[in-house]
Symmetry: C2
Amino acid sequence: MKAIIHIGLKPGVLDPQGRAISRSLNDLGFDEVVNARQGKVIEIDIKGKDTDLAYKRVTDMCEKLLANTVIESYLVEIKK
Amino acid sequence: MKAIIHIGLKPGVLDPQGRAISRSLNDLGFDEVVNARQGKVIEIDIKGKDTDLAYKRVTDMCEKLLANTVIESYLVEIKK
């Protein structure tokens, strides 16, 4: 099984990396860029066949290690 | 318009960050984790209404700034 975890900054949290990207793009002549945000995606290969259990375990992984829940939100997707 | 860019390491490129994640998860007791890979997602807000042009411009942004095409591959998605 495969778990795909999307992690991004919560709304309202300052995103210096996103600002740096949009500024750099503007400087390069891409004037149509208004705003940019950067997030991360973690893909995990998991043993086992129980989708519900996998979902619970991966959520637990996010809470314990993968996401900084003070400033980040995450979305877990399980694929067979 | 919104452009979503998925950037990940090309197959065969060593992924130390992914290894660190899978090891740390194993150390925390998540023994079902076999492998992990980390990629990034950049969301860009764009002025204008021409989807084809936006796709071309965003591809250009990837080649010039956003992706390191020696080791990374990217996928561009345009949403109205």
